[in-house]
Each structure stands twice: as structure tokens, then as C-alpha cells.
């Protein structure tokens, strides 16, 4: 069902954890639908220095969370905003069709974390 890359990211997820005093935090999904993703950003000079995630969900949910964090680490905020769920799925070599919508939410979580970061920046001004 899953590609080797999905299984690799599921079995060996990168960047699992939390960031204390994160620059931005984003969460999507809910427990009733079976997937919750929370992404933490550490941003310095508009660059994503570190990113961590915590995910409750299936293999695809965990693998997409892991891949999304890999894809945006070291990128600027604007570059990270360009990341799409489709790009995450492509980077994993594809996902089963039913997983594209229900479990591939990592880019959405990332965008929420960036929005949170920007809101915090605006509040400081």
C-alpha cells in the first residue's frame, strides 16, 4: 500500500518532538477523524532554523509530517509557504488515493504554524 519512502519516514520519523518557546505552532485535524498534526517552528531572521512535529494518526499521517519537516528545514518563511500537500506526497513517492485527503495535512499544519509565527511577530510591533 505504501512506498518504501513512506515506510522509511513512518518507521524512522525525522524531527519528532516539541520546541520550547516555539516561534510558531500550528495544529490541524481532530481526534474524531483520526489524524492530528502539530508542527513547531523555530524561526531566526526569517529562516526556519528548526522544526518539530507530533502526530496522532496513521502511517501516512506520520510519514507526511516527517517529510514536511525535512522539506522546510533551513528554508525561508516565504519558501516554506509554497509547500503543498501534493508536494509532500510527491516527495514520498506518492500516497494511496484515500490517504491524500484524510492523512496528508502536514503542509496545512505548517501554514498554520507560519500564520501563528507572523501573528506573534505582528504583536511584537
Amino acid at each position: 500500500m505504501y512506498t518504501d519512502k513512506v515506510m522509511d519516514h513512518f518507521m524512522n520519523p525525522r524531527n519528532v518532538g516539541e520546541i520550547d518557546n516555539a516561534s510558531g505552532v500550528g495544529e490541524v485535524g481532530n481526534a474524531s477523524c483520526g489524524d492530528i498534526m502539530r508542527i513547531y517552528l523555530d524561526v531566526e531572521d526569517n529562516i526556519i532554523k528548526d522544526v518539530k512535529f507530533k502526530t496522532f494518526g496513521c502511517g501516512a499521517a506520520i510519514a507526511t509530517s516527517s517529510m514536511a519537516t525535512e522539506l522546510i528545514k533551513g528554508k525561508t518563511i516565504d519558501e516554506a509557504l509554497e509547500l503543498t500537500n501534493k508536494a509532500v506526497a510527491d516527495a514520498l513517492g506518492g500516497l494511496p488515493p484515500q490517504k491524500m485527503h484524510c492523512s496528508n495535512l502536514a503542509a496545512d499544519a505548517l501554514h498554520k504554524a507560519i500564520a501563528d509565527y507572523k501573528a506573534k511577530q505582528d504583536a511584537k510591533k
Binding site: E18, G34, K54, F56, G57, G59, C102
Partner: protein
């Protein structure tokens, strides 16, 4: 790596004795049981031996057994066949919320033919309440179909008591016994049912073959037409190798059942104790009225498919009522009907035992599983919230 198969409610490995019987049938008895020549007569003899073995397993008479393509066809044949045959008497059918989709979907389809269907709730253990059946019976009720034991949580329904009510009311009683036959003693006369669905591949027989017990005198229209086989209730040339395999499996199960039931019960108990020792794990289903091969737990704060994948990487095959394993967005309709919330239902794990499982298998699972749970919980934002 050790491989442990704990998904026997999904299907069972075919028994070597069954394979032998099937190969012999295909190599040496290829005749059509409907043919009058010696090849046909030999095939017919095998067919009837298999029928007798299946009948014996459930205390029926051979002429009350017809072979089908499996449990799903047996359920559909019952629901459409009885409802249509009894239409002049009434148009009401009763079933329960935790039935297999072979029953639920067939009942739903019946509503398009003008039938009214009452879907009874279950209690928190997954059991149908006898008083709910009593309250639902109406003058128009023609058929009640309640499963003997549930395929996910293993809870055994009080079929004997329900049947007494239904029969006193003058309706027909069917039970889907796919999960109980070969696992616990099942006797159609003790239960009193009019119809009972069986499946071969749940008792170490081949896939694609099942049976329907039909008590003598029960009215039932066939679903298909085109031949006189199976007393005109299921026309078509019989799947003889499959039926022979099913018959052999039934013969073996009848012989092994008493000992296996006790052994399964002991393994299940050890498994339940070990699983409940993991923090935040709850047992789903009835604590005692459950088939001896079934363990179903919810492991809170983690999701079922992730758990299954990680168990698979350790060689352990299990199943879950998680939405991600069912192809729908909702978790198991059975767990939801029992009042279990979505979040907990997503983390369900079903382990079902079989004749090849050993104590060592169980200890291996109980060694591996806590590590996987810990790993997934470390990733879970729900667990992080719980920890504060």
C-alpha cells in the same frame, strides 16, 4: 524474525488435511455431481459427505444445509429470500447495529423494496438486549437477524433467548454464526434458529465457500435461477473442491473443538492480562460472554493503523477497527455502536487466536507491543496533552 498470525477472525490458514482432501477431489473426482454417470456419482458422494460433516458440526440434518459462496451470500440469501417469501405476511425486519455489513447492507437494500428495517442498539459490551428485541417485534415482523458473536469484539449474543421470543411471535429467526461455529459448541436445535450462516475459511477451510442452514419448512425464495442444485435454493454447479475442503474442515473442527476451546481461552486470558497491564488500555467487548479466540482492546492516544504497521514490522499480524484500515473516514461501526468515542475507537486492536498459536507467540506479542505503544505515544500530541 518470528512471525505470529493473530488475525484468525479475518481468515484462517487452510488445514493440511483440508488441502489433501481438496487435491484428491480435484485430481480424482472431477465429475459434475449432477451427472448420472459414475464420475458424477463419485462427485455427488463427496458432496453429500461434506454436507453431512457440516450438518454434524451444528447439530443439523444434512438436507437442511445448502452450500453457498460464503457467509456473505448466506446472509444475503436469508435476508432477501425470507423477506420476499414472507412479504404477504408482513414487511418488517429486525437486525442489530453491530452486524456484519453483509447483513446491514442487505437490510438497507431491502428498504428499497418497501420493507421497514429496525436496527437495534447494543449495550456497552456489544450485546443485543433481549428486551429490545421484544419491544421491536410488530405484527408485520417477518424476520429477525442477529449475529451469534460479533466479528470485531467477540461478544456472544443471547440467541437462544431471542429466538424463543421471535418464534413465539411467529417470525423467522436467522443468526450469522460465521464467528462461532468451530470456536464454541453451536447447535441449531439448542439455539432454535430457523437459519444460520456459516463460512469455511473461518474454520481452516478454503475461501469462497460457505453454507446456510435452513430448518425444514422455512420459506425462502432463491436469489438466482437456472438449475435445480441445492434443492433449487442455490442453483449452479457446486464448487466441489471447496465444498469438500469445507466438509473436511468441519470434520476436523468437530473433533478438535473441546480441547482447542480450552487452550484458546487460556491463551486469550494471558493476552488480556498482559495488554491491560499497559497503561491506558481498555478491553472492548463482553468480559466473559465472548468467543475464546477474541481479544479487542483500545490503546488510548495512538491510532490503529500505525500500530498495525509497526506490529507487522515485528512479524505480528493483527487488525484494527481504525478508519484508516477500513477505507472509510469513520472507525468501526461496532465500536461506535457500543458507545466508544471516535478517538478511542481509532486506537483499537483486534487479536484473534488460532490453532497454531502458542504461549511463546503470546509472550512475544506482550514483549513487543509495549515498546511500540511507547514509541507511538511519544509522537502523539494527544498523549502530550494528557501528560500536561
Amino acid at each position: 524474525m518470528r512471525r505470529v498470525y493473530l488475525d484468525h477472525s479475518a481468515t484462517t490458514p487452510v488445514h493440511p488435511g483440508v488441502i489433501e482432501a481438496m487435491v484428491d477431489c480435484m485430481q480424482n473426482h472431477f465429475g459434475n455431481p449432477s451427472s448420472v454417470h459414475s464420475f458424477g456419482r463419485e462427485a455427488k458422494k463427496l458432496l453429500e459427505e461434506a454436507r453431512a460433516n457440516v450438518a454434524h458440526l451444528i447439530g443439523a440434518r444434512p438436507e437442511e444445509i445448502i452450500f453457498t459462496s460464503g457467509g456473505t451470500e448466506a446472509d444475503n440469501l436469508t435476508i432477501f429470500g425470507v423477506a420476499r417469501a414472507m412479504r404477504k405476511k408482513g414487511n418488517h425486519v429486525i437486525t442489530s447495529a453491530t452486524e456484519h455489513h453483509a447483513v446491514l447492507d442487505a437490510c438497507q437494500a431491502l428498504t428499497k423494496e418497501g420493507f421497514e428495517v429496525t436496527v437495534l442498539p447494543v449495550d456497552e459490551t456489544g450485546m443485543v438486549r433481549v428486551e429490545d428485541v421484544k419491544a421491536a417485534l410488530k405484527p408485520e415482523t417477518v424476520l429477525v437477524t442477529i449475529m451469534h458473536a460479533n466479528n470485531e469484539v467477540g461478544t456472544i449474543n443471547p440467541i437462544k433467548e431471542i429466538t424463543q421470543l421471535v418464534k413465539a411471535h411467529g417470525a423467522i429467526m436467522h443468526t450469522d454464526a460465521v464467528q462461532t461455529v468451530g470456536k464454541i459448541p453451536v447447535d441449531v436445535n439448542d439455539l432454535g434458529v430457523d437459519l444460520m450462516s456459516l463460512s469455511s475459511h473461518k474454520i481452516y477451510g478454503p475461501k469462497g465457500v460457505g453454507a446456510l442452514y435452513i430448518r425444514k419448512g422455512t420459506k425462502l425464495f432463491p436469489l438466482s435461477h437456472g438449475g435445480g442444485q441445492e434443492r433449487k435454493r442455490r442453483p449452479g454447479t457446486e464448487n466441489l473442491p471447496g465444498i469438500v475442503g469445507f466438509g473436511k474442515a468441519a470434520e476436523i473442527m468437530a473433533r478438535e473443538l473441546p480441547e482447542e476451546m480450552g487452550r484458546m481461552g487460556r491463551l486469550r486470558q494471558r493476552l488480556i492480562e498482559g495488554l491491560l497491564a499497559i497503561p491506558e488500555v481498555q478491553l472492548n467487548g463482553h468480559p466473559t460472554e465472548r468467543i475464546p479466540i477474541n481479544v479487542n482492546v483500545s490503546i488510548k492516544y495512538i491510532e490503529g493503523e500505525s500500530l498495525l504497521l509497526m506490529l507487522d514490522m515485528k512479524g505480528i499480524a493483527a487488525s484494527s477497527g481504525s478508519a484508516c484500515t477500513s477505507g472509510s473516514l469513520d472507525p468501526s461501526h461496532v465500536l461506535l455502536a457500543m458507545g466508544i468515542c471516535h478517538e478511542v475507537a481509532h486506537g483499537s486492536l483486534r487479536l484473534t487466536l488460532g490453532r497454531d498459536n502458542t504461549e511463546e507467540d503470546i509472550e512475544y506479542v506482550l514483549d513487543v507491543l509495549p515498546q511500540i505503544v511507547e514509541r507511538l505515544r511519544a509522537m502523539s500530541p494527544l498523549y502530550a496533552n494528557k501528560e500536561g
